[in-house]
Structures are given as C-alpha cells and as structure tokens.
Subunit: 361 residues, 4 copies
C-alpha cells in the first residue's frame, strides 16, 4: 500500500512540495526497450505549464524534467528504457514563499489547510505543501511515458464546460483544442470563455469546469470484473486530481434518466470483422472491461478556493477571522487539468494493458 | 495486486458466480475482539435481498450467511473477532439456469457478455457469471463487519432520483427510507415512484437512478493526500458497483458551475471547540482528508439492460441477430444498490480509520 | 496489503482455523481456459494428508476439496478456469477439541500461544487456531493450480536431513521419494530414518529436518532485480511455512565459505544454443533472475514443540507452571512440509511467469 | 505491486544505477513530526561507504544525501517529517565507466549480466547497472529514517564468519564492532581476518561471509500469522540484498538438528511482570510474531564474482571466451552488507510497528 503511488504494473510514485527543492517521481514497471528521451516528456509538461496565458497562474515554473535513471543509449544511438525504474526530477525555481506568509495561521476555506493540520499536526503554509497542484506535473511526466507504452492509443482531453456554460457538442473539433488557451474544442465557446473568464479573473474570483478525456483505439478486453474494473480505476485516477469533485463514464449521470431500451448500445457486425456499436452510452466499458469503442471520461473541477474576496474562517487556535488570497492563482484550475486528465487516462490504460497481458497473454 | 479484493488494511476478497455452488468472501485485517455474530451481518443482507417487493427481481435467494472462521466465543459467552481472516459463505439455492439457455450465444447489449468473452475466451451464460449483481451480497456482508469497526459512524443511503424524477430535498426524512420499497427519503416522491416504476415494470422496461450515501460522525483527519485520497477511494468503491456510471462528492458536478466565493465552505468556531462549517460543498473532504462534516457521495446507476423489448445484437460468430431477456430482473437496479453503496462507504471508512491509526497513531 | 494473501498476479488468500467449520482459500489471477478439476488438486492434498503412516499425526482429515467457483464446463465437456477467482473449501471433520482443553491456560513453549495472546488479546486453545499447520492444506491446493499454470516446469521436493543425519547425495534417486514415508530420495537413509524416528516417536519427542525443493525447466529471465528478486520471494514463501527457521538458495550458507573462483558458475556454449553452466552454486538465480538452470531451495524445519516431556512455562496470569502435550502430533513435521514447499515453489514461479509476461510480453 | 519498493506501511522505493546521474528513493508512510535531518541519515551512509579501508572497493563515492521533500522546519527551529513522502537523492560522482568497457560483451560468471540481458534484451555494462550494490546506499538511507520511527529499538549487525572461519561467540563484544574494518565483534577473529583477507585481496580473489543482525527491545506482539510473518518479511528483506544466498532466524538451520525438548524456549515469570525465556532458539519470533526477546537474523553472503583470475564464459553471441575483472571491487562484499542488513531490519520492524498499530491500536 502506498498513499503516493498510482497503478499496479505500470506504477509511479511521486514526492515533493510546491515550495521545496524539487519534485520528482519514480516510474516502475515500464517495459524495456521503449525509445524515451526527456523531450518526449517535456512536450506534455509544457502543455500543463502555468504562466502561458493570462488565464493561468503567473508563477514561472520552467518545469524542466531530468531523467535520472532507467534509460540507456544503445549501440544504434537511440536511448531506450531498460525495464528498471525511471527516476524523474524537476527542480523548483520560483518558490516565492513570502506570498504565503499571510496565510500561515488562518485556514483557507476550500483548501486542505485545516485537514492537513488536523491529520499531521503540521501547518506548512508554503503553497499548500503537498496538496498543491504542482504535484500534477509529475503525473503529466509519468503519463508521457505511459503513452509510449501504448503507442497505438490516442488520448485527448478537452474542456467542455466552464461555470454553467457548456460547449455546443455539434461544434466539436479536436483541432480547435490547441487554438485557444482553454483546450476547448468548440471555437465559439472558446471565444465566449475568453471574455467570461477575463471578467472572473479581474474580480479576483474563480470558476469551475468540466473536462472530457477520450481514448481511441483501446482494444476490447482490457480491464477486469469487480474491483479491477477499468472504470473503477479511471474514477479513482480522476478523483485523485486536485479539486475534482465528480467523475462519470459515457452517459454518466445522464444514464440515470434513461430506460433500458435507450441505454443499451446495440451491436452490429462491422466491416472489419469486429462488432460495431450503434451508440456509446457505455463510454467504452461494460462490466469493467473495454468494448473496443472510445473510452470516454468526464470530470468536474471545482473553482480554486484562492480568491481575492475575504472569506470567514478560523485560525489554528480556533479564533474566528477572515482571509483572502493574494498569491498568483488560476481563475479556472480546470483548464490546466486537461493534460493532467489525459495523463491519468494514459497511466490507467498502460497499467491495464500490462495487467491484461499478464493474465491472458 | 488483486482484481477481486478491495481495501488495504480492512480488505476483503470475494469469489463466486450467480449460478455456482456458493458465493463467499474473506475479510482480512479486522481488529480483534469485536463482537460479531451472523445476525449482525444478516440484517444488512436482508435489506439487499431480492424478491421483497414487486420492484425487485423475483429470484428467491435467502442469502443465509455463514461465518466459517475468524471468530471465537470467549469465556463471557460473547463471540468476537480474533484478528485473523473471517471467511463468509452464502450457498446458492435458486440457480434456475434454464432461464439463461436462450442467451447462450447472442451477446446481450449493455451486459458484459461480449467483453468477458473477448477477454477470457469463455462464454458462461449463467446469469452473467461473475458480473452478476449477486456478487454485491458479499460486499454487504463485508460492509456489515466494517460498520462494527467504526461503531460511532452512522452510514445511511437513499434513492434521490429515479429516471428524470428527483426527490424534493425539502421533504428529506431518513425515517421514510424504510417505509417504502425504494429506500426513498421523500414520501411524496416514493408514492410517485410506485406508479412510475410499476408502469416500467409492466412494459418489461427498466430505468436508472441516483443514490446518495451519507456518513455522519467521521472525525476530521482521515484520508491522505494525492493517491490515497478518501474521495479517490470512494470513487473507486462506488464505480466498482455493477451498473454505476458516475460518482460525485458533495456539490459534485454542480461544483463546476460555482464561483470560488460560493463554493468555499466558510469556517466558524463551534460550540464544542471543533470548527463549524457554514456549508458542505466539499462533501466532508478537503485535499483527500475528512473535515469532520458529513461525508456525502452520490452515484448514478444505469437501467438494467435486461429488458423484454428485443434489441439488435450479434452472436459469438459475429452474425447479426436480436435478443430480449425473459429472466427475472430488477426494473430499477438502483434500488438494491442502496445497501451496497452503504457497505462500500463503511468499508472505505473502516480501511481509512486503520490507515490513519497506522501512520498517526 | 494483506497478511493472509501470497503472490501478486497469481495470488491466493486463505482463511480458517484447524478446529473451525472449514478452511478455504481464494485463488485470484489464474489465467483462463486451463483445464482444472477437483481431482487435479486432490492428488497433491493426499500427499500432504496426515495419518498415512505412524510417522505423522494420527488425526483423520480426509481433506476433500470442493471448487466453489471460477470454473466452467465448456461445450467439449472439459471443465476449465474462467479467469475469475477460484474459491476452494475443505470442511473440517475431525475437530476433537477436548484434546486441547488442558492447554487452554498455559502457553506451550515453542508454540505461538503466547505471541497470539499478546498480539490479539484472545486465547484460542483449539489446535493452535490459525497458526496450526492445517492452514498449509490450502497452500497445497493453491499450489496444485499453480502447477497447471506452468505445466512445463517440474517441481519436486525431498527430505535431505533428519536431525543431524543427512542423506548421502550420491544415492539421490527421485523415484525413491515415493517409496518411503519420509519423501527421502536416499533409500539407505530412509531405512535408517524409519528406526531413528520410531525411537523419537515412542519417547514422545520430536526432531527437526531439512527439505530441498527443485524446479526444473524454469526459463531464464523470470524474476526481477532488487525487491522483486525470485530468491527474495522464495525466501519469504518458505519462511512463511510453519516451523521453518532458515532458507537457502543453491550453495546457500555454504557460499559463505567459498572463494570467488569456486563460487562462480562458469558458462559454456550448449548444444541447443542455450548456455550451459558448469556448476549451479547460484541455485538457478543470479541478480534475482532465473538463469535457466534448476532452481534449488532448501529450508530448515524445527522439531514440533508438542512433546510428552513436561516443559516449564507460565500461564495467562504469569504464574509459573509446567506443560506437556497429549494431542496427536507429528514426531517430525518436516516430513509433511515437503509437499507444502513444492506448492510454495509452484506459486512463486507461476506468479513470476505472469509478472514477467506483463512487463516483457 | 512494485519490483522496486519494499515494505507496506513504511515503504520505500528506489531508483538509479551505479553509473547514472544519481540514485535516489522515496520513503512513504513515515509518521509525521519525527525530527529528521540529513545528518541523521549521513551517519549510517558513512558506515556503508566504500573506500574506507583496503578491504573495500577503492571507488570514491562521498554518498552525500539530500532530503528533497517531506520535512519542514517548525517554529521551534527543529526540522521534522510532515507525514508526506520523503525524497532522497545522492548524486553520483565517480562514474569511471571505462573500467567496464572490457566486460561489455562477455557475461561475467556469478554476475547478473546474462540474466538481465535475457530478461530485458539490454546489455548495460556500466557497473552492473541496477544490480550493482550501489543501490544498497538507498536502503541504508531509508533504514536511518526507519530507526527514528522505532527509537526504542536498538539494531546492530556484526560479521560472524569469513570464509570458513567463524568467530568465537564467547569473545562477542559489541564495542569491538567499530574497532576493526570488518564489523567483527570478536577482536581476535578480527586480527585473523586482517591477514586472511589481505591474502585474498592480493591474489585478486574474494571470499564469502555470514552476517548477524540483532534487534533489542522489540515488544512482543509485532508481526502476523501466515504470510505476514515477521520472519517471512525478514527473510525477504535479507535475501533481497545483493549476493545473499541464505537467511536464518534464531537457531536457524541448527534447529533441524534439535529435539523438541532442546528447541523449545521455556518460559518463566520475569521480575518486570513480563515473561522471561530461558533460551532464544526462536530468534525472538514464534508463529510469525515477536516474543519480546531479541530478534536475531543471520544471512550468508557469497564472494563477489569480480575476480582477477580468468573464468570461462560466453558472450552475447553465445561464443565461448574467458573473462576477468579489473575494476575496483570488494574482496569480501559481506563486510559492507552489515549496515545494509541493519537497515533492512529497521525497515521491517518500522513497517510492522505501523501494521500492528493499525490493526490492534
């Protein structure tokens, strides 16, 4: 058991606080002889990196990853995994702890300050310590390696709702996702969000979001019944991301409103010998096992609790007070959760590929 | 790693198919010297048992549990746990396999028939084999033991939505839950559901539902950051229940629509020295750790895919055909998911109590 | 984590006390479509069963195993594993608890009475409860299934020392193992042991033994470096057997006396393209990974502590007293440890086959 | 499951090769608020460090450890653990890879070259890569933290046999252990070893050893029956150390030669209310649970296979050749295994303390 590891056969373990010397992780169980360089990882890290638009925190973290172990340059000049643990390190450079001095005593509502202090008896005010979203950089790094373990599978994420405003799914265009600072597949919605979020940012407020992650080309048969269900692991994966409060697969909560006739995805003979489904309410998973359709997960991200408006709270001594947050924060943390969600999807699928191969060959 | 175990320190492992000789489980890690009899478990099993109203499957499964190990009658005549594994067994009595003869070849849409066959290369048509909801009886049994590990915590579940029809939360009365066959806390909604579901049942159709489970008196400090988050484990737990397609904590997907000001639960000094929160959007969990407020989880259950209306499908040979299900099935499987959800909540909390005690003492 | 499970991908979990209703286990992770009947398991159980000669306990335990789940008779009439958990049960028939009434209060030296009571606060005198060697029946049952997962590997065990008397390895003949009640491969030593152990038995005394288990045809490449070493898992496996106090691989403790020149197993080109080793001090494992040579493990079993001669001890109240054991016990428990050691070897190897296949394919 | 992690509740995971940029580990599950500085760890690392006498490899590795996370300087100026993962890093400084150029193609007998290549399909000749004893530095670092988790327990190791030469246990003096370069508690034997090992070193040969590790003040009741046995975990821990071929507890292999009368450790009432044992053949463990006596483990270390005398071997193409090792190596690797064995003992005990506290409170 480990509270800081995720996955079973493809497994990674992270360490580090937002304001310590470095953050890092160990990726264990990666198959040998997969080509891997730091550049392969850096690309995904850069997508998550803050400070790239006015809509994300202005902290400057270059997030330059170093591979410390687990790779070897073979005779052909290509660096490949050796099958032994891959140590990854990102040194912290922007640790402006003074921003956090004010919050040392009072518990910030919506943050983990009170619960950490209650659990561990330690009040580490530096950027939320371990509960900072900074930890997710290592998820993205591990996810980049996971993608290389399952190279045929394409994993993409998108923001599909900001506050109460949902995208129009009829406008969905994956190419748009990289054309706006919101990872939004609907160009029209993205234009709206630009104004909408700017208003929220200027007010020192924040807003929630819903993210959707889709994995294509997942073969039928991955996953397992009961407690090893692919959807159970995806739910744990997404709910472990900071600020996530809900996870759904396929039709999700909408399935509660359906009749059996409407919900069941009918099957037809496909042209390639594989079955073709006439719908995908299942989100690509039946009985915990992949169907061969796209695996579709959505998760809800709450608004960051770091806002300029003072909120009522108490301090360590139980005395009532007020607090507001001056630090540099994301008006919509959901945005940067997109590459994190993709990474967790990649990690769950890589793990289940290995688990399936172990049992079934 | 085990695909059929759940929990870490309070851990149970199940076996058995709906139409085999028996189902059973091993509960491991239970503290010693907890008073435990079969009657303690039977009560919860009886709440889940089918055939109690016309709204659940008419299969007759007395679900009589036997404790095979891990208890000892001490000198005072009280039977207590010994700290060693508790073996539980329920013999199957109603295994009418013939009902399932028709489905042997064609894959039932919405069921796990196709995915199991693809994964394992075995087509076991008997009641869905391992993917039958029958397995949840063992969860309820393990959950009954978990409740005794955390006796101060009260865990109750309720059906809060059937199809598109939500209860009126203003009518919430926990006492009503046991007064209707739906575990519904809103008497008025329950009356409506009786007619509504009867119509669905008579049509041989089915409908989805949303279940809410609430745990009171959970101390602040249980859970862990990152991958050992209490909410991450709850998400995995609930999503592992048959037919569940979505899980949310506290405000859940609603949190995506909130601003930071509205979402953050403010803190005030309580009369008992403990903090008092002015709202509970967090659902009792911040940063993966309990706040001391009620832990609130909701999950969406899809309609059962066993319906009388024929649906298009294919058979093992890929040939197109149609199928409908004559067997005895639940028009709304969400109903019987209520005690299962309670059990999973109890198991997660008992596990985290032990995990917290291990690290923090 | 589970204190009653062993293995990772091929994993089994046991429950049950020697004097409860039944013992049982769940074998999880077994690949699908392996032919398996109760008879396949019963054969190994019968080799371990007590009461077959005057040299083992006279308790009568038919040890009739039932497969409760995880198998399915396919269209060809052959029963095969389905890939889901296999539940196994053996009902207890000979529970003569009265034999143990005398020992209820005093702690038997060399037994786990004192440590269990100290740990759990429960004094269950019935045959040692969970610490009885009866639990090993389930290891043998799980091991019989493990053998079917790695059908090309031949696993055989032998008693190579009884008390101070070692066999003459020049006389080693595997066929002899089944010709005497000691699983002894040296016919001459077996004849000596017959007299020697009879004397010990008549005195109500007991004696230790050393067991060797050999696995042939293990492919090179199984195992893993560092904490997943094949030898590390074998050491844990054998040391977990009741009464075992030492484990060694290949040259074992003898390796401490060797020079580097003598210890290193030289390699030559084999006729079949595979390397040939000129010796096997490594016991078939280098750096935690199999070499392709025979995997050779030995373990030391202490004498049973149940003897007729009174020994000094204390009771639950700390009062000094004496105790001797009238129950039916083995004069040399090492004998029945032979099939148990074979089973643990099979389980470790089956687990590592799956682990290797997962990572390397 | 992880091949590079050890422990369950006190758990560490290592990465790094002998000739990469750095080695490191993550210690997870450490209780919060334990005073911890780099100096606490450095002391143990220095005891293991090579190059301190002519009897260990002349590689210069300062082994300067950095704590990257998991600690916080509290208001009283004392740095303490926070309960979150502790990241440790040692940068490699002496990576003279050229020494290893010659061995790139041929497999060194007794080393893991052949098995790694067979498993992973990668031939990394740099100092044995992951299988180098360099990894043990991280065990010692993690062990130093484990010691602080169980401060009342004293753990000491000693070399008790070099080649065929055993110490005289009558001369045992723990204070002598730090007076000679062999960690030998018998001054007379140490003097003999100095000459003996010098001869072996000058011949470019090597020799095996036996190490004993003793833990004092372990409370009765730690450990668990069956597969969570304290001795089973100790066996896995010690057998996972490089070059170890055998492990024994208490009387160990000697127990095989004893009668039940001689082996059973009798109990008497102690002056302090606790029982007193009249002997310790059990090595402090009965039924997998600590008795309160000293926990005593011994393990056998084979001679290093890096020797100057050419040995027959094959290369990657299967061609027969010869090889000898010019690198800087230990004539008796057993010596430096002493602090490693102590560390593994500390880790197993810290883990079991937490496991016991979890279940029993």
């Amino acid at each position: 058991m480990s509270h800081n590891s995720f996955g079973h056969l493809f497994r990674f373990t992270t360490f580090g606080e937002s304001h310590g010397l470095a953050i890092g992780c160990i990726v264990d169980g990666c198959p040998p002889r997969i080509a891997l360089t730091e550049a392969d990882i850096q690309g995904d890290l850069d997508r998550r990196r803050p400070g790239q638009s006015k809509f994300t925190t202005q902290r400057q973290e270059p997030d330059q990853v170093k591979i410390l172990s687990g790779v070897f340059i073979e005779a052909d000049g290509i660096q490949r995994t050796t099958g032994t643990p891959i140590g990854l390190l990102i040194e912290n450079v922007d640790q402006r702890s003074k921003d956090y001095a004010a919050v040392a005593q009072a518990y910030r509502p919506g943050h983990a300050d009170f619960t950490y202090d209650t659990k561990y008896g330690i009040r580490d005010p530096r950027g939320g310590g371990r509960s900072s979203a900074r930890e997710t950089a290592m998820r993205v790094a591990a996810g980049a390696i996971a993608r290389k373990v399952i190279p045929d599978i394409r994993i993409r994420g998108a923001l599909v709702q900001m506050g109460p405003h949902r995208i129009d799914r009829a406008n969905w265009d994956w190419d748009e996702v990289n054309n706006n600072p919101f990872f939004c597949p609907d160009a029209k919605a993205a234009a709206f969000y630009a104004d909408y979020l700017d208003g929220i940012r200027k007010n020192g407020s924040s807003i929630g979001a819903v993210i959707e992650v889709v994995a294509e080309n997942v073969p039928a048969g991955w996953g397992a019944p009961i407690y090893g269900k692919l959807d159970s692991d995806l739910a744990a994966a997404m709910m472990s991301i900071n600020a996530v409060k809900g996870v759904e697969i396929g039709a999700g909560f909408g399935a509660a409103e359906l009749t059996g006739e409407d919900n069941a995805d009918c099957m037809r003979a496909g042209n390639d010998g594989k079955p073709r489904f006439t719908s995908n309410n299942a989100g690509g998973i039946l009985g915990g096992i992949s169907t061969g359709q796209d695996v579709v997960v959505r998760f809800a991200v709450k608004p960051t609790s770091s806002i300029l408006t003072p909120r009522e709270t108490i301090d360590r001594d139980g005395k009532e007070t007020e607090i507001f947050t001056k630090g540099r924060h994301d008006p919509c943390v959901g945005i940067r959760a997109v590459p994190v969600g993709e990474a967790m999807m990649a990690i769950v699928l890589a793990d289940h590929m290995l688990r399936h191969r172990a049992q079934v060959g």
